[in-house]
Amino acid sequence: MTTEENNKKPREEDAVDQKKRKSNESEKNEIGAQKEGAGDIKSDKRAKSKKERPNMQDKEGPMKQKRPGKKTDVEEHKEEESPSPKEPLLKKYVALIHEHLGENSLEDAYINRASKELPTLIVQPESYFSIARLLKTHQELQFNYLSELHGTDFKEYMEVYVHLYSFARKEHIALKVKLDREKPIIHSLVPLWEGANWPECEAYDLLGIEFKNHPDLKRIFLGEDWEGYPLRKDYEPYDVEV
């Protein structure tokens, strides 16, 4: 047998303890047909040698199911697990946002239990900036510190993830916004937090997300003449071997 053949032998693997996540799993089963297909992809993906792995199309299956599943997270946890201690806080945030910016500004709100019970808001792109401003300035929110900003390519859409912290209240919140993958444009947060400047440049450089009203949007790492956006899942490296 050659090396390649050897590589194809799927390694014996212990199953990860997924019991905790069972609740999420049950939703996925609803999309039964898709699930089967995804299973196939998964197993033959594993069999592939490491070099071939970056073939990103394969990952599409599993990801497709994952995202819609999020929607009902909040209700479900209530039934099956003890409610998160952050639940009342999240309700308060949602109520405040609804009160000031209307019911349609939020797409979803849930507690990310895996991430240390983190309240997470998914917002509509149009109200992204005004929600951020509300979070920063409202007396009962006061999220005055931007801890992290980055983008992710989720194949169907781009996502910008913002992690805010309130020094006054010692609370965290995650703010997420889904953007059109072909033309990802979003309002910049630099007018609110200067600290968003370079992270936004980084997202622009590596993912091609454009930030409106950014004072100096540039390709901060790779230089203006770089072709393509490396962190996109369909990025083709110019020179594969080096």
Binding site: N112, S115, S147, T152
Partner: protein
């Protein structure tokens, strides 16, 4: 009457005071800086992109190379992120070893900063003394992990090696030795009039500026914000130790110096307690599946590195490799305030201000 003229000056990419490949384009009028534009990216290695094709264990050696002066905290942040996502328990003994390694790393990192900062300002001998003490720490970490800088010591769910025989005693002996040396540093530098003239009131910013620019670590604490993640949201076993978070009010380069010097003492306090509490018995690796395959979901954790708040975001799709991995690199965020600080400053203060921020270019560029 002296006639001055605007000119552009390139500092770097290869310049001794930038501690790495970092370029600063400054527009100066005479001796006064009109505008400074940092140019970064010379050391961008695409860690995040590479990580998308690597298993979690394989990513750990890559994190060593981000902030190469305190690789232990980088090791920790990714392990901690995966452990949080999977809900893994880490054995107590492993946590003690991790904390000791991280605190030793913090002291080593601050020592490098102390030495090189003073070298930038023009004092040569503190550099030699600081590196002598650092060598002792590096030797300790070398004995523990098998490498001097790129430790690759932590694993998801624990650590790779148990403490070798006699190692704990060596750490115990090191603490009073380091205390004495720190006192010596204060004698040598802190009271020195030339040094004080050089750093007092230079590169001052307010608390509001610091928060606005997302600064963290000593750069934030020098403005009076009492914020240390080890205290604020204790990860690992930091809640078992009694230590203070040093802060200063003035927000100038001297305040940052004082905060870092005091932090070394606090780290020694933590080490002292950790050595006493260290459990001789126990596992160093928890119950971890052979192939680490976190469930679907995303996680963001933050810990306190010597340079500030280092964070790790993982979006997992249930595979062995992360779907997306992102590090919040404190140096990258901290450096943003530089153009603001340099504007209107004297050219000679450039190195004082840049050095005071304490950046590591491997971390800035990712």
């Amino acid at each position: 009457m002296v006639r001055t003229e605007e000119m552009l000056l390139n500092v770097g990419p290869q310049h001794p005071s930038t501690h790495g490949v970092f370029r600063l384009v400054v527009k100066i009028d005479g001796e006064i800086i009109q505008e400074a534009t940092p140019v970064i990216g010379y050391l961008h290695r695409g860690t995040e992109k590479l990580a998308e094709d690597l298993q979690y264990t394989q990513i750990i050696p890559y994190t060593d190379r981000m902030d190469y002066l305190s690789a232990m905290t980088n090791n920790y942040v990714i392990c901690h992120a995966v452990e949080t996502l999977m809900g893994l328990e880490v054995p107590e003994k492993a946590e003690y070893l991790r904390v000791m390694a991280m605190e030793l790393g913090r002291i080593a990192s601050h020592l490098v900063w102390f030495g090189t900062y003073l070298l930038d300002i023009g004092a040569t001998s503190p550099f030699l003394f600081a590196f002598r003490e650092r060598e002792a720490i590096i030797n300790l970490l070398n004995e523990l992990s098998g490498a001097r800088l790129t430790f690759n010591y932590m694993r998801v769910g624990g650590v790779k090696w148990d403490a070798p025989e006699g190692w704990i005693d060596k750490v115990r002996e090191f603490i009073p030795y380091m205390r004495k040396e720190l006192e010596g540093y204060h004698d040598l530098v802190t009271g020195n009039e030339i040094f004080l003239n050089r750093v007092k009131g230079v590169g001052t910013y307010t608390k509001e500026d610091a928060l606005q620019y997302s600064l963290s670590g000593a750069n934030l604490r020098c403005t009076g914000v009492n914020y240390d993640l080890r205290k604020e949201e204790p990860y690992s076993i930091y809640d078992r130790f009694d230590f203070d978070v040093p802060t200063e009010e003035t927000g100038d380069a001297f305040a940052r110096y004082q905060v870092r010097m005091a932090e070394m003492e606090e780290s020694l306090k933590i080490l002292e307690q950790a050595v006493e509490q260290f459990p001789e018995e126990g596992n160093i690796l928890g119950k971890v599946p052979r192939v680490i395959r976190p469930p679907e979901g995303e996680v963001y954790v933050r810990i306190e590195s010597p340079r500030g708040e280092i964070g790790c975001y993982i979006a997992s799709d249930g595979q062995k490799e992360p779907y997306r991995l992102k590090f919040r690199r404190p140096s990258f965020y901290n450096l943003q305030i530089l153009p603001k600080l340099l504007k209107g400053e004297n050219m000679a203060n450039l190195v004082v201000i840049l050095g005071g921020i304490d950046i590591v270019l491997g971390e800035v560029d990712g």
